[in-house]
Each structure stands twice: as C-alpha cells, then as structure tokens.
C-alpha cells in the first residue's frame, strides 16, 4: 500500500491542484477510499458507541446527585468532584496506586530484567524456568486473589504455618491496615514479573549476536557489555514495560477484590476498587462517575505525556 502511494506521489505533484483533492484522487486511484468507506464506519461506530459515548455520559452523570434509578435530575455541578476530593479513602487509593507504580518500577522490573538476562541464555531447563515464572501471569486475577487469601490466612494459611514453625504468633496480614497493602503488593509483583520477563527475553532473543561479539573483541568486561550494549538494546522494551506497569497499576481491580476488597479501613483500595466500593455498590452513580472522570484524566494525560516523551521513536 505504502509503495503504491509513493509511486503515485510524483504524478499528482506535477498537476497544479489544491492539496486535498489531490489526496482524494490518490485515495480513489488505489481504492483506499473504498477501503476507508467500507472499513472505517463499523470501527468508528463501535468506538463511538462503546468508548466515546460512555465517557461523555460519565462526564454528564458526574454533575448529578443520582442513585441510578430513573433519570438524573438533581444537578449539583462540581459538588461530586468536591466530595471525592474530600474523601480520605480517595487519597489513600491514589497513594496506593502510586505505591504500586513505585514497587513495579523499583522491584518488579529490575527483578524481571535480571531473570530475563539469566534465562535468555541457552542452558538446560531455561525453557522450563521461563514457563514456571510466566505461569502466575496466565492465572486469572480472581483465582490468584483467592489463592493468596488462603495463603495469607492467619489461622490456616501457608504464611501462618511458616510463622508457627518459628514459634511466632501468626500474623493476619490482610486484616491489618499496616500490612494489607504490603500483602497486595507482594501478589502484584509475583503475578506480573513473569510477563515483563518474557518481554525482555523476547527482546534479548532478537538481539544481534554480532554486537556482543564485537564488544567482546574490543575487550569489554561482562559489566561493560551489560551496561553499554545489552541494556541500551533493551531500552525500547523497558519503556514499553514501564508503560504497561503504570497503566496496569491504574487499572488494578480484580486482584484487590478477592484479597481485601480494599479494606481494612480502605487501606488497600486502588482507584478502580475505590470507584466500585464507593460509587457503584453505594448507588452513587454521580459520585462514581466523577471518580471515573478523574481516573480517565489521569490515564489519558499519563498516556499522552509518556507517548510524547518516551515512546516517540516507536
């Protein structure tokens, strides 16, 4: 497609025509218009119907004090946003999202990178180990949450048994405001590091071996090789990984619900579980919509900024 358009370009250029009919003629000439007319509307329609309209609706509802029954009538302007910002649990949820991002970037990604560097080599059992580390990612979030709620159980759980071995009093990790978020963070790292590891391994396998050999010939040490050849090669993947980690943290919901449901005392809510707990399950559709709009703004501004600053070449 691209090549054909290129070959057409000189032809249209010689004729002194306004820019867009030329473009249009170009479209007509290689049937791109037909493609547009045929294939764009369904996608556009679906996108409008299920993405643009709901976003608009959420923004509209966020101006109402509305419980979801009948039509919204009680317009309260920006009060819902004020209520949201006044809710302590909202800031806790925001803090937790921040925590997840920090832990993802500082612990999860380095861990994934280190494992990837080890397992990208060919040796006996490498594939099996990769599978093993990737396994948690395949598991459904709800199932993971349930499994770990058993693991953390203070009476019968694995953690309790280990503690008992040392004769200590068993902790109820999910029942304390101090440890609940920590417990959730551990599960997040456990569940998603395999995914990032796989991304890194894929990138490492696409690496040109001659680069490494050239560096070796030049007498680079292992550390130098890593620092100046391998990691720079991985930069695009790392940027992608960071993007996934941050967006994933903003959307995190289904892992939190079976583990703690955001509790105790809202200490382990994420923004989305906060939206669900305080908006939907309380029938405060306006309030929930306001949270949704705030979350949307955070996500969109992050995605665009990141795209602009870090993902420009891709």
């Amino acid at each position: 497609m691209r090549r054909r358009a290129d070959s057409l370009a000189p032809l249209t250029a010689v004729q002194p025509q306004p820019a867009w009919p030329a473009a249009l003629r170009g479209l007509l000439a290689d049937n791109r218009l037909a493609v547009l007319v045929l294939f764009l509307p369904p996608a556009l329609l679906l996108f409008t119907l299920f993405v643009v309209l709901p976003i608009g609706e959420a923004a509209w509802y966020s101006g109402f004090n509305w419980n979801g029954f009948g039509r919204p009538t009680n317009w309260i302007g920006f009060d819902n946003y004020r209520f949201v910002l006044q809710t302590r649990a909202f800031w806790l949820a925001l803090r937790n999202n921040g925590l997840i991002i920090v832990v993802s970037l500082l612990i999860q990604l380095p861990l994934a990178l280190a494992l990837a560097l080890m397992l990208a080599e060919r040796f006996r059992g490498a594939v099996a180990l990769r599978m093993l580390f990737f396994l948690p990612y395949i598991l459904a979030e709800i199932a993971t949450g349930l499994i770990f709620s058993f693991v953390y159980d203070g009476d019968y759980g694995l953690v309790a048994s280990i503690w008992r071995l040392f004769g200590a009093e068993t902790p109820h990790l999910l029942a304390s405001t101090d440890t609940a978020m920590l417990a959730v963070l551990i599960v997040i790292v456990w569940k998603y590091f395999g995914f990032h590891m796989m991304l890194f391994i894929a990138a490492l396998q696409g690496m040109d071996r001659s680069l490494i050999e050239a560096a070796r010939v030049d007498g680079a040490t292992r550390a130098q090789l890593l620092r100046h050849v391998v990691i720079p090669w991985l930069y695009p993947t790392i940027r992608l990984s960071v993007f996934f980690a941050i967006v994933g943290s903003l959307q995190l919901f289904d892992l939190v619900m079976p583990l703690t449901r955001g509790g105790p005392a809202d200490s382990s809510n994420t923004l989305v579980s906060f939206l669900y707990n305080n908006g939907i399950s309380r029938m405060r559709v306006g309030y929930g919509s306001a949270v949704g709009v705030i979350l949307f703004v955070i996500c969109v501004s992050f995605a665009f900024t990141y795209q602009r600053w870090f993902l420009r070449d891709e």
Partner: protein, 419 residues
Amino acid sequence: MRWLDRLGLAVATLWLALGAANADTTVKWLHIEANPAQVKIWEEVARSYEAAHPGTRIEMQFLENEAYKAKLPTILQSKDRPNIIYSWAGGVLKSQIEAGVLEDITDQIKGYSDSLTPAALAAFSRDGRIYGLPTALSQVGFLYNKELMAKAKVDAAGIKTWDDLLAAVKTLKAAGVTPIVAGGADKWPLHFYWTHLAVRIGGKAAFDAALRGENGGFAGETFQKSGELFKQLVDLQPFQNGFLGFKNPQAVGYFGDGKAAMTLAISTVYHLQRALAADKKGLAEDQIGWFDFPMVPGGKGEPSDTLGGITGWLVTKGSPKETVDFLKFFVSKDVQTRLAAGNFIIPVVKGADAGLNNAFMKQIAANLSKSRYHQNFYDQSLGPSVGRVVNDVTAEIAGGSMAPKDAAEAIEAAWKQGN
C-alpha cells in the same frame, strides 16, 4: 462451527415454542437466598401455585447478595426486569419508589393485608401506599457458647448492662477464651454494635430526631456516645485475632467451631453456624444461648426495643397481575407456617408463628412481638450510601483508626450529602 450455530438455533426455537405453549404469563422472581434447604421449599410453593393456576409460570432467578445490590439499579431500568425483587425496605426502597420503578399494590392486597403484622407491612408502605409484602423478621442479639462461658465462669443471664458485658469480656480473656467473634471484613457485623448502642442510648426519639437533622443529627450526643461505648469494648480487644480480615461466613463458622464465646449476630445465625462450621455440624442447639443486647444505664431506649431486619418482596412496575396473586399465595399462613416450622424465618403472617417448633425461635418471635420500636438495620434504613458510611466508620472505630466523634460526624456529613 456451523453445526453449533444450528444446534443453538434449534434449542432457541424449541425453547420459544415450549415457552409459548406452556405459559401465557411468566412471573419472574429474583431472589438472593443462598440456603438450598429454604430455596427447595420455595420451589415447591412455586410449582404448586403453577399447578393451581394453569397458564402461569413462576421463574426463579438467583443473584448473590452483593452482586444483587450492585446490579439492581441497571436491572430495574430494563424492560425485561424481574417482576418480584428482594428488599430490605428502608432507604433503598424509598429511592426505588421515588424513581417510579415499583408497582403500587395497595388496592390488590386489600383485605389480605390484614393478615400481616402491621409493623412489618408498614416497612413496605410509604404515604399510605403499599409497594411490597414483608416475608420475614429477625433480631440482632448475642449468641453465646454455653460451654466456653461456663469454662470462664461467666453467667450469661447476668449480662444486663454494657458494663456487665465489658466485665464478661475481661473475665473471658483472663480465662484464655476468645470473647467475641466478628466478621469485620464485611463491616456490617460491626455496625450492629454501634447502632444497637444508639438504640439503647437514644431510643426511637433520637433516631427520628437525627433523621430530621435535630440535635446535631447523626453527629449528635447519642451517636457520639454510641461510638465512645463501642470504643470501650474495642479497647479490651475482645475480638478474635485478625477479625478485620474475617468475612461474615468465616466468622459464623468460627463461632460454630466453638472457638469464641460470643457473637453479636442476626438470629438466623443460630442455624447458619451449623452449615458454616468446619465439621458441618457446628454447635448443638442446647449448647447455644441467647441474651438481648445489654442496656446502657441512663439510656432512653426501652429494654424491649429491638434491632433487626424486615425483609420482603417488591413488585416492579408493569408486572402482570398474577405477580401479586402469587405473592399473596407465597406470603400466606400455610407457607409461612411451613417456613417457620423449618426454623428458616420468624413469620410475618399472624398466627404462622405457631409453626415455630424450637424454643430459641419462639423466644425471638416473642421478643419481636413485644417490641414497640424495631429498628431496621441502619445500613439499609439510611439508604445504600449513608448506610455504608455507617459500616465504614464502625469498622474504623473497631480498627482504632477513627475517633468516635469523627465517626459520628462522618455519618452526618454523608447524610447531608444525600445519596
């Protein structure tokens, strides 16, 4: 793949044909009852109604409690909504009535409505119009494990005041017994303490005044004091280890396993603990005792005042007339007597409590009939939004992260914000 489509089509056609042939009217009934033994009786009642009324089909649908609450607003917007839905009355019912999604059934149940306990029916009425039928009552109070109480030499019958309860907790702890088990992760089991204290301290007058916004509303003295007294209990660390991580079924099971001396619970837990205990047997009936929530000296509430639930069924707008007819059949003396005999419910139809065949259920029924002020669960009566704030703050008091005064003020703030 194609044969699968065809199969699907064939099944759909068959299903439509059957539906058309079988029933002229279908009454869709959405419930949240998780106890299979009770659902079985309901099914039988529905089948016998169908047998007596050819042309009518009763279709039962089940949703889990929390899922039901979350989906209900959407379900009610649909044209294909169920005809009969579950309700705890209170603030949620109020918003449903205001939204116009319920059928006014006052005229259809004229005469029949006299057979119901007036207080229970009143919960489903608003401005003299009736929107649903009550089906069961329950009371909140302390269930205790006789063996463990005896072990710590605590006389449960002697627990009459809040201070008695605090003393009992201390004695139990000293004897190495976990005094109280609570499902703190679900929060509402904890809100029983705070709300029942408010019932004892302020009585009906205080609650009504708070609703009108008088005396500082829910931030007023009564509700602050409820928090303070609850805090006295919390400070003794009466609950099992990690209680804030226990969901209610787990906590009920814990009590059934005989691991804690007391639990503040809905009267139905008396039976539920058996199903949820690790050995599926739980505590035998003669091992469990009951005492009413203790009094607060100087409180304005009567000893006979009760906290508990009034649950029932609502009819949605545009439902066929058979819906109400079936409900009348379902909430009839016969069926209620049968459910009472199974000890599933405290019935709301007059005379059906004759079916109760166990001393415990009879005692609860007597308490409720004596009660002149039966406070519906706060988290239901205050509506879905404020009610959950009550749950939140009581859980926070229990977790030590909120002062009683702030808790009361948070509820008042939520009340002022409205829905």
